[in-house]
């Protein structure tokens, strides 16, 4: 079973963690879309701290000696999912940024050439 000291530390840690997420969301510094997986991680950790019986059961089912290893394992799994999703978000963002840069540059050329044309006409007229 998880030791009481560990449960208290876990509980305090998760509560601080959830508060930080709420704070970031209130400040508009984290999109709801990206916060869901973080919140889910927090809830699962909260369950681990509140109901050590569940952790014990899972540990027994998986044949894991120490209950605390299940907590670590679940945490690592969530981290992997979050990091993977971050990489995919960054890839999408860089694709979009590149496409936007290219569109802007092609438009800039059109505008520049149009300006030259107009300037040329103006100087002819005057």
């Amino acid at each position: 079973m998880l030791s009481d000291v560990f449960r208290v530390i876990l509980l305090i840690g998760v509560l601080i963690y959830l508060l930080i997420i709420m704070f970031l969301m209130r400040k508009g510094k984290m999109n709801l879309k990206y916060s869901l997986v973080w919140l889910l991680t927090g809830v699962v950790m909260l369950v681990c701290a509140a109901f050590p019986g569940v952790v014990h059961l899972v540990a027994k089912l998986f044949g894991v000696y120490s209950d605390v290893n299940i907590v670590f394992f679940v945490g690592v799994c969530f981290l992997l999912v979050i990091i993977l999703s971050l990489t995919s978000i960054v890839s999408l963002l860089s694709d979009r940024l590149r496409s936007l840069t290219q569109t802007q540059a092609i438009l800039e050329k059109r505008v520049r050439e149009l300006e030259h044309k107009i300037e040329g006409k103006d100087s002819e007229e005057s």
Partner: protein, 233 residues
Amino acid sequence: MKTIVIIPAYNESENIVNTVTALTTSCPDVDYIIINDCSTDNTAAICEEHGFHYINLPINLGIGGGMQTGYRYAYDNGYDVAIQFDGDGQHNAEYIKDLIAPIKAGEAELVIGSRFIDKKGFQTSFMRRVGINLLGATLKLCGHVKITDATSGFRAASREVMEFFSKHYAQDYPEPESIIAVRVSGFRVKEVPVVMNERTAGVSSISTWKSVYYMIKVTLAILIYRLVGKKWR
């Protein structure tokens, strides 16, 4: 065939005027566009001063993103053939017609100018040739195509490949990767012999220390393309 030459340029102030002058004198009937990839020197000012056709990227995108800008521009403006032509004086404009010929004849959609078919002109260092041969072997294995000069940046793309490149283009070291990408998507690739010069000024984008990393990365990229096997068409 409406042809455009795309000249990617990053800090090419020493070469760009000679490159464009040589190009316009030997091929007066083709258009060109310089892609100034956010150069830190006065490349843009020189282009403006000489009245060149150029696109200024506001952020440095690297050779991949820069070339892709050119392909997008070429596709949007209805060109039939887009030629990639380096701004550093390595490529000879007189071979442009040889690159266009297979596309005109309908033999291939992507044509690569190779300096190792006739083995004339600048042949690069021994180690580089070993690397290029390794890449060629990987491409043969994964793309079923004989490529003697996989890193050659002197190439011609048909309108279909232009459209493909404007949507999907390898970003970091795009020359070998783009070959496998077009092969996986079912296009035909052909090589024609060309003669290249040693760069007249400036330094190559790939330094000696980076070349090992380059080889590993590009080989992996080619293998991944084959494994994932995604058809983008």
